[in-house]
Amino acid sequence: MGKLQTFFSRHQRVNVGAMTLLIILAELSRLTSFEVVTPLMIAAAVIGGVPIILRAASALAYRVVSIELLVAVAIIGAAIIGEFNEAAIVVWLFNLGDVLEEVTLKKTRAAVKSLTELAPQTAEVLADINDTVGEVEEIDFVEQGDLVLVRAGDRIPVDGTVKKGTGVVNEASLTGEARPIQKMVEQTVSAGTILEDGLLVVAASRVGEDTTFGRIIELVEEAQDSKSKAQRVIDRFAKYYTPLVLVLALLVGLVTRDLAFAITILVLGCPGALVIGVPVSTVAGIGQAARRGILAKGSASLSALNRVDTLVFDKTGTVTKGQPEVVDQWWAPGASEEDRQLLVSVETIANHPLAKAVLNGVAATPQPVDKSRVRLGQGMVAEVAGHQVLVGNAKLLGEFQISLGAVKEVTQAWQTAGYSLVYLAVDGVLRGSLAITDPLKDGAQATFKKLRTLGYTNLIMLSGDNQTTAEQVGRAVGMTEVRGDLLPADKAEIIKELQARGHVVALLGDGINDSPALALAEVGIAMGNGTDVALDVSDIVLLHSDLTKLPLALTIAKKTSANMTQNITIALLTVALLFGGLLAGYVHIALGMLIHELSILIVILNGMRLLKVR
């Protein structure tokens, strides 16, 4: 029996398509002289009904009363009293609702799956540290202490310590810092990170779900799941509704001894509008959001977003563009094209985020650099065309005893504005200074104004940058709270704190370092050009990193939730009306079925209204 069920659930869509066709043909044949309504309806009821009856029976075998049971009894009952049209329609609606729900859920699944796939499924295990080729093992069978060979371009499969070799590792999947890191013997490496260059032999210390990466995945899986509870409300309702209708029908049947009447109750009591009402709202809401550049991964995301009262933003890449730009320049009197060329020459070989901004902001032809040395946390010392060139911060120039007096007034204003400063000194003399900042995203200020208009007054910004820079950005858009100097782990802690105080939190972020916080927040909203993992763990994605879409996302969430409530209300009112009418003797099965179908039409049309939200 299990096999037959699996077959049906695999081909449910084909099944629903076939039923739809049969029902349409049946209705069309009414218009012709060649009427074959009943046989076609019977066919539709059988192909749709058998899987439902099977599912109901198997659930009952494990003492579980499912919603399928009510539908199954109603179908069988309707067939007994010869109401094949009703049986077919009820079965069709029930299956259609199932398929609609599955379609919306598929997106959620794909997201988690692609995250899981970032973790390697196999590892090359060496028998001896000096071997160059090992045995490929399933990751679940790799033991603690095993020596694993990692080749350039591979993802590291375990957490462990380097025992042999050197390499350059990109730890972006864990830290969000896409900077390559040099790894040598006795240094630790983490599963899920990429060995960009080199060859490593790693002794495994943690494997599979115990690795840092594995724990992140587990966290995400469980976090995502705890959210889908909202979706279960309707099924929980059905849990009580189902036995109630069954008992009612049984009582009525026993008291009146009228089988047709009892079965009418069952047929009318089938939660048709109820079953289809919620998926219709969801599909319409999610569809409309998608058309406007907002990807919501499932109905739970939208209903959770509706309950949010606190919006938390990551700064870089979310509120700001995430790409520093030169916003102001100062050049010493007599500074020439040559100074600009020297600056550009050094920045061309520098591997620093600010260097890119300088290259974009200053146009000059780079010259070959003869010698260069990086001074960590300060800048670069180089030799170009016989000149000693310093490019870096005030600390670097201080070390070389170069006076910054000439530029002091200008830089003070820049510092107050929260800009980062880059100095250029040639042969021991200050020649120029640049102000660099990560500018606000286009429309950021208008977006925050709109958010306040919509009634969101808890606007919090978190940043790994220093407090001054963060506050500067926060003031510009009107944040209510700004927290700077944070480590990735701190962000998740802050979300927890807010939740402990009873807030429902949405987090907007773009980096992998935001992933735990994204997963932890009731709603994680990722910026669409962010890293893959951040997209995977989020509930909602704003495409093209478009922050201005946030107010619309909130509006759609509100309207979709309201729409669902309306549809549930319509469905329940219909059921109440039908039962009232039935008991009072006004409603017989044909009129009842018509009202029933009208209510379904109404909830569908109501759901369609969501397609107009903008």
Binding site: F8, A59, R63, V64, T108, D225, A238
Partner: protein, 77 residues
């Protein structure tokens, strides 16, 4: 005692989750049943004297759902 993790297929409605959870919980020797809806996974702890993973697999398949993959791990107490 054993910890098991099963990857499930065809978990499309939240009521399926309830059904599977209830059915598995009713088996003797099974505790800490967790069905991860979005991930499509079932996690549980088994008392190997009373029940085995293949038995649970059969229970889930009888309900009409696929079990794609089973992982087991010994836990010492």
């Amino acid at each position: 005692m054993k910890k098991i993790m099963m990857e499930l297929g065809g978990l499309s409605c939240p009521s399926c989750l309830e059904k599977i959870k209830t059915a598995v919980e009713h088996q003797a020797g099974v505790s800490e049943v967790k069905v991860l809806f979005n991930a499509g996974k079932l996690k549980a702890t088994l008392d190997t004297n009373q029940v085995t993973a293949p038995v649970l697999k059969q229970v889930i398949e009888n309900l009409g759902y696929q079990v794609k993959n089973v992982k087991e791990k010994e836990v010492t107490q």
